[in-house]
Symmetry: C2
Subunit: 144 residues, 2 copies
DNA sequence: CCTTGATAGTTTATTCTGTAAACTAATTTT
DNA sequence: AAAATTAGTTTACAGAATAAACTATCAAGG
């Protein structure tokens, strides 16, 4: 077998390579706002959950990453003035994450950038095929 | 929209999260041989191209990464005694990468680990759906 | 009430992946 | 023979991820 065939047929390789490609596209799109890809994800998540304030623990759950990783990312966003940590009145150990106005603006940019890419994807392979593909990927992910 | 829906419907997010999940699975499987995911990829690539020896530039092309990144990875594999750089007789600037016996053994482990995961994927979503999904992903990747 | 254990987050240290830019050496091109 | 290109390395750095130790708070059982 040639490596090209293997790379195409092996899910691990194909998905990894595609993810790296998309990651770099996303990074490029977000650079204008001085955001990293992960920061973009987090801003978007908080934006969509509003007005219910997300907590770091929920972010960790949603993205499948460690508390430490979330903490770093949130600190960075706070340092950039894009969000605020507020102590949860119901539990002083927990935080509620709320976007500041600049953070909302950035979130909208991120969403627009991703929508644009998604539209291009849909144009290329069709809306149905894209949805089907994502459904399959979710199933595979849920397998472990 | 809730963040869960967005994460599922947005290709960038869904693929990124799946890739991270699979990456961590792969990393786990390769740890026994003291290999990183990327090292596993590179060993496999060289293995499949044998007896034609791969060059660093071809690796960079195949995996879509920079020459520097390939160089580091190859250095690490060479330090672990898994492969050898040989100067290309046709061009003294280029190298040919050849697996040493220990490297072949590792490559077989990597391939086995990924085959096992692939089988589980096929059992979960079906061979056809998996192939269809990878085909779509390749199309999206080729778009940019 | 108070100890014990669990939970939420942070911090520190480290690894892996990836890039950019400067560099060496060999090969083409002109 | 000089200039430009190419192959690969090296240096320096950033981003993403983890693990483990730590702080502070909360919850439960005696």
């Amino acid at each position: 077998m040639r490596i090209d065939a293997f790379l195409s047929e092996s899910p691990m390789f194909a998905i990894n390579r595609a993810a790296r490609r998309f990651n770099s596209l996303a990074t490029e799109a977000l650079a204008a706002d001085g955001l990293t890809f992960l920061e973009g994800l987090v801003l978007t998540a908080i934006f969509f959950e509003a007005p219910t304030p997300l907590k770091p623990s929920e972010l960790a759950e949603t993205f499948g990453m460690t508390r430490g990783n979330v903490s770093h990312c949130v600190s960075s966003l706070e340092a950039k003035g894009l969000l605020q940590r507020k102590i949860d009145p119901a539990d002083a150990r927990a935080y509620q994450l709320a976007l500041k106005p600049a953070g909302k603006k950035c979130a909208l940019h991120v969403i627009a950038a991703f929508d644009k890419l998604q539209k291009e994807f849909e144009r290329e392979v069709g809306k149905t095929a894209l949805a089907e593909t994502l459904k399959t990927i979710r199933k595979l992910e849920a397998l472990f």
